[in-house]
Amino acid sequence: MSSVFQDYFTDDAPPRNLIREWYLLQDDRVRAAFDARIGFIESFSPLDWGRLNPIKPMERECAGLWEVLLDLKDHRPYRHIRPIGIWYSDERLFILLGAFEKSGRIRTPGNACSEAIKYKSQYESGRGTINDHA
């Protein structure tokens, strides 16, 4: 069974697509790697990934969120991209709430986790909408 990614739209006027906003700020290398990774996760079950399962639960100040591991190590500079959101493993549904780039312990943008947690609670209280990832 494959997985589904959906974008979260805030209840602002006009609604904001958080992952789209992040995506548009990235260069082609990150955009392409992100698109490819989403495509592969949607096409293959987590069982196919084995030990390389790219969806992991987050800890500490990001606890409650899940991250998609996206490491670009094919050439320098190595980059570690982390799209984050809510993962419903039973439905294999990942709701994208944003993303950040990790360099050691530094995240860019720095408030990515706190923002995502805020929108997670909004979504869980019925605010905002979700739609197929595009």
Binding site: S2, D28, D35, R37, G39, F40, F44, L52, H75, D132
Partner: protein, 240 residues
């Protein structure tokens, strides 16, 4: 799931994006397939490394979608370790887009190695040979080739042979084998296509006659002896 139009729109954003998406899909796909094939065979990285003549570290990197610095030589060694082929080819982006949309079908983990395929081929060849032998046997008993008195009497056996040929082996190759024999027996008369149950109309045509050719002379034994004596007399007359 991204739609084909959305994907094409992304490809249209620029050459750099197109280069990066091809790289990302190829690198992640190859790594995932290596890992999936190892799992399918129940092999560890060390076992694949031994089969491929590489180190376990190389296999670890090759099966990691984040690495993506595989050389052709490493990929070919890994393919040899699995005893499968690896094809890389240049394609237009329309084909790439179709491939990317059908990843689950395009990237399979169950890939037969050469030995498995070879034994399957041999079994198939043996089956084909057996049916060919059966057709030869049928033709030699049912159709008396070159029989001077071919007529209505053998029509039924000819038709029966044709039907059994079609039943035993609907393969065009088998029909091709049968066709000359049947045509020879029936004297190259106008033909009509033969239908087989499995394949519909076969490409080979086999002629079947409802009566013997008009040119064929039918002699009774007495007439034949008289004719032969007459011919001998003519020869004597010519030499004398």
């Amino acid at each position: 799931m991204i739609t084909p139009n959305e994907f094409w729109e992304k490809l249209s954003t620029g050459r750099d994006y197109r280069k990066e998406i091809v790289a990302a899909m190829l690198k992640q796909g190859t790594a995932l397939q290596i890992q999936g094939m190892m799992k399918q065979k129940g092999w560890t990285q060390a076992q694949l490394a031994q089969q491929a003549g590489l180190t376990q570290g190389v296999i670890s990197r090759a099966s990691n979608p984040a690495y993506g610095n595989l050389t052709f030589n490493t990929v070919i060694d890994i393919a040899a370790g699995f005893d499968v082929a690896f094809i890389g080819k240049f394609v237009p982006f329309s084909e790439f887009a179709r491939w990317a949309r059908n990843l689950r079908d395009e990237i399979t983990f169950s890939v037969s190695d050469f030995e498995t395929e070879n034994s399957e081929e041999q079994e198939q060849a043996a089956r084909s040979q057996a049916s060919t032998e059966e057709i030869r046997r049928l033709l030699s008993t049912a159709v008396p080739v070159g029989h001077p008195s071919m007529g209505i009497g053998i029509l039924s056996s000819l038709v029966a042979a044709r039907e059994r040929v079609a039943t035993i082996s609907p393969e065009p190759a088998a029909l091709q084998l049968a066709a000359p024999r049947l045509n020879e027996a029936s004297g190259d008369r106008p033909t009509r296509p033969i239908s087989t149950p499995a394949t519909g109309t076969a490409t080979t045509e086999i002629s079947v006659h409802k009566r013997p050719p008009r040119s064929a002379k039918v002699f009774s034994p007495r007439t034949f002896r008289r004719h032969r004596l007459a011919m001998r007399g003519k020869r004597y007359a010519r030499t004398a």
